[in-house]
Symmetry: C3
Subunit: 445 residues, 3 copies
């Protein structure tokens, strides 16, 4: 066996407790197998690491070991009980006990060997999306290789010649298998990084699901979706991003949604788009955005300076994508199904809502208070309690918390406390008078 | 009271007839409160104005006054009866009696104070989309601030540090509230404009609605849409854009549609994309387009020289978005609902149309002539009478009228009269003979 | 008659057998009327040609003749029986016996005269999408011209002042007429080409259809689609692209789908986006991509060096767009219609599939073997037999075949034979041991 001490130190392998030839406990300490949280900029105790790991909020990095100069990974496709948000668990297909699969990280020039074990009831493959590999390593079932049958372990091997943000996913019966969760991020770090170094480097995989309320199995035949996720988590189940004021933040957004191109909007900042899954965008070609469109099957990397302290929403701007399950397809009046247009023609619609006479904003609190019943295993349409009342958002939403100082232990800071005079507030009567504003007689342009 | 004569001249405030401390009649003359039309490049009589206003076709500018060096605006969220096009009125939610809300215009460096009164039956907020504001002014209900309850007036205040095309919209129960119309444009003019000056500067807000035929209330739960609008107007209800030959035209396209990224196509010209809601695109990074994709939650500014006289269609290129209400979801044969696929499987479909044996093109005239009944308060599927027959378009469509000279009174010129030899026409028999064209024996490549 | 011998040689006209004044047989040989295949880089025997034709896989070029210095084309709109893939024929509307219409090719500076005969039962027009033409030649029914009535032949004429990838399509009742197929590619070659010359120049028109299983008429009212095509062909009915290793490949992607912006993904290569239908993108502004989003109503031209031998998938990345008809809208369990959410609420869903207990991957072979009945005139959901088993893809999918050498006769090479050691394969027991991989105890990050 060729595993040198140096290799063991480099490996960062973990969870290989049963691996026959590796001193697992040391390795497990070297790269503990758990969800990365902000502040863990690199797994502790790993000497000689040649890259700065990304943070996959609510995700994890796939451990590896180095053997004979080759970086060795082991993916296992299997059924996974996955919590999308507190209260909603799905029976999905993932890798290594996770949905989505753990993030693979490697460095330009690395020789990679990736074992894939199929513990699913159906054949599968893995495609390395955006990565230039030999034809036979491309993972397209039937064309590149026979699909991996249940119980089999396949091996993929190639030399990494790119850097950037890529993905891996099933490329066999992909409509079904990707809808159930078989995907993950693949980060290729540059051997010689160029340009300014990111102080925070976040990575997200965007996906979408149809979870019929009360069901536990995503519906892979659906062409409409009611559960929209960042790293397979729906708000309020998403962990926030953190940054100190003045830091350069990089966010990698990769999209493997079935159908949608998600426009991801940031509050309080302007981003520059720096990379696609085709590689870096030349400096001369970069666009500024506050909303970056991430087409499905693409990645977009954005960077910005976090110069504005606060709690900033970061979310898809499609309004149905910032709602959870029950906000969609609801009849908009009692006794008439809005989809049955034959009945609707000619009818004069009365008040348009059966649930919430004035919108959905007050539904979440009703659900939480128990005043409104919901099916088991489901989410209310909206949100969570915030510092100033109920937040009427769900789904593809997270927060960026920018602070002049962050907790030393890497934990999330509480809600932002605005300095005096910098929060919207009820206007005082004397202000209205001073400024000539009469709420009863608004300007009518 | 600190309103000086100079401030009153600068203010351009209007509609504030009941405002206690302002001499309203003079101000109303300074910036008359009505829909902007082409030719009104700036409200008349406003001295010292430091920007050239945009034109919001079928929209209006929100008046302001200047008080103590602060530009003061007053938005009032309220229910509005809004005409989308002649024949179709919706009970929407808007601002200051308009849907969408009036366009806010300000200049980089301005100190802004914006009062927001809530006259809706539900709580709301206002988010300044794309604008970098202090955290507490960001308008996300529950996170940035408590939502504004019915009857309350809130005040937002910050210094404008950007220029470009932005939006404002509700960020509380946004799926419902934006679907009902709570949005508007926010134009930030540069303090020191760079590059060539636009001779015409148009601004559009794109949105989409589900108005069940015969209903008057938009359906906020819908994920499909049958009413597509430029500045909340559907063709043939959209006012045209005007330009003189040789003028530089800027068009600002901001999209707050619930779900769709609209590809906006221009006829007769090639546009350059110059800005996003993140700011100006560097000259080196600009793309030429005849169709610019405007992702929802984004803005795209385009510029071009209007060098081609004529009446040019300007429209979304999604074919269902250039139809009005009744063109969607119609069963495609008598007695069989196309959506109930269980019945359709195995059936051999006969002729595919119940309405219009050869398409929808002849439906509009049938409706207009009274030969085909439609529900009250609804639009025929298509279009309007044009100079050469019925125009089979509706929805997200307008016209750009380019002329060597325009009416001096700012009114719309009539239809374009093509010079001899520049219009498609019936071929003459001798041409067919000369050119070897036999309609009965076409080339069969 | 002014048809000189030189003109006849230049013409490349064909299919004009009944054209009264042209020696049709010679012309037909000069530019034979048939589907272009790779290797036919130019129609044989055409002297004086001033451009290198594109290849429209599964399509054809529209013949032309030159008369008095004018390039003369003849389009005939008519009903066409079109095969989307073996087993699925649609009654569509096309041009000159084809769906989509033949590709028009011309050169910057050409004077063009295009006759359009309407053999449809409905009025129509032709719009030259992206091309700057005089107002009256723009083809918008009712605005630019009266629509062309059944039996009429219209004539369009203008001078081509652009180069790039454009389209033509009906602009009268476009929702219906484009849904039935009335569209084609228009390639404008530069008079003085700049930059590196493409060794292979492919052109695709993307479109989408709703063909209810068993039906033969596309449904023009549909807003969802179950048949996704490259040049009106669905995989496995799409011909592959070919390239020799080291060649520069250009692919022109134009999209006239009703509703969707297609993200087209390439395997094994990184592409650069070089043009839109607005013209060339400046070198400084170009983005690298492995997935290029082609908004509907747009074209995107990409280029890359084919430096990676193999059989590479080239496809839309929306997962429902790589399935054929039957993969959509299927109830996901017996007896419960997933669309009738009123019934679904509160139900605990059992196993989620009525068709295929573990996905769709095994449905295709079942259909092909006759074990599963399908309606007449329909496609199984998936795919085709590949070199390594069944390929579970359909729809908007084709292949790029890169080889060190290609068959001399222009025919398609067989499946790629990977060199030893470059294909994913079952791992051997000793490898698992050597590399410390235990399939029974995977890493659990």
């Amino acid at each position: 066996m060729k595993l040198s001490r140096r290799n063991a130190l480099l490996a960062g392998a973990t969870g290989l407790a049963a691996a026959p030839l590796l001193a697992a406990s040391a390795a497990a300490q070297a790269n503990p197998a758990r969800t990365m949280r902000d502040g863990e900029s690199a797994p502790p105790g790993v000497a000689g690491r040649d890259y700065r790991p990304v943070i996959t909020p609510d995700g994890a990095a796939l451990p590896y070991r180095i053997q004979g100069g080759v970086k060795i990974f082991h993916l296992v496709a299997e059924e996974v009980e996955h919590e999308f948000a507190p209260g909603l668990v799905g029976r999905c297909w993932g890798y290594n006990g996770r949905v989505h699969g753990p993030t693979i990280e490697a460095v330009e020039g690395d020789r990679l060997r990736i074992y894939v074990t199929n513990r699913l009831p159906a054949p599968t493959t893995v495609h390395w999306h955006g990565l230039v590999v030999p034809s036979g390593m491309d993972g397209v079932g039937g064309i590149s290789q026979p699909s991996i049958r249940p119980g089999e372990t396949f091996v993929y091997e190639w030399t990494l010649r790119q850097h950037g943000t890529f993905m891996y996913h099933s490329h066999h019966d992909e409509m079904t298998q990707m809808a159930l969760g078989l995907m993950g991020l693949f980060i290729a770090h540059p051997r010689r990084p160029q340009g300014p170094r990111a102080d925070r480097d976040y990575a997200y995989l965007l996906s979408e699901w149809q979870m019929h309320p009360g069901a536990s199995r995503p519906d892979p035949n659906a062409m409409e979706f009611n559960l929209l996720t960042f790293n397979a988590r729906a708000y309020p189940g998403t962990s926030p991003m953190l940054a100190r004021t003045g830091e350069r933040v990089r966010i990698r957004l990769a999209n493997l949604s079935a159908m949608d191109h998600h426009p991801i909007h940031i509050h309080g900042h302007v981003m520059t788009v720096t990379e696609t899954d085709g590689g870096p965008i030349p400096q001369s070609a970069r666009w500024p955005e506050t909303t970056v469109l991430v087409p499905t099957g693409s990645s977009r990397t954005v960077e910005f300076i976090a110069d504005n302290p606060g709690d900033w929403a970061f979310h898809c701007h499609m309004t149905h994508h910032v709602m959870n399950q029950m906000g969609h397809g609801i009849p908009n009046m009692t006794g008439v199904n809005a989809r049955r247009i034959d009945r609707a023609v000619g009818a004069i619609l009365p008040h348009y809502m059966t649930m919430g006479h004035d919108g959905m904003g007050d539904m979440g609190p009703h659900v939480e208070s128990g005043h409104m019943p919901v099916p088991g295993n489901s989410l209310p349409m909206v949100g969570a309690q915030g510092p100033h009342g109920y937040v009427t958002m769900g789904g593809m939403v997270t927060l960026l918390k920018v602070r002049n100082r962050l907790p030393a232990d890497g934990s999330h800071p509480g809600w932002y406390d605005d300095p005096p005079g910098t929060r919207a507030r009820i206007a005082r009567a004397e202000e209205l008078t001073r400024d000539g504003v009469d709420p009863a007689a608004p300007p009518r342009p």
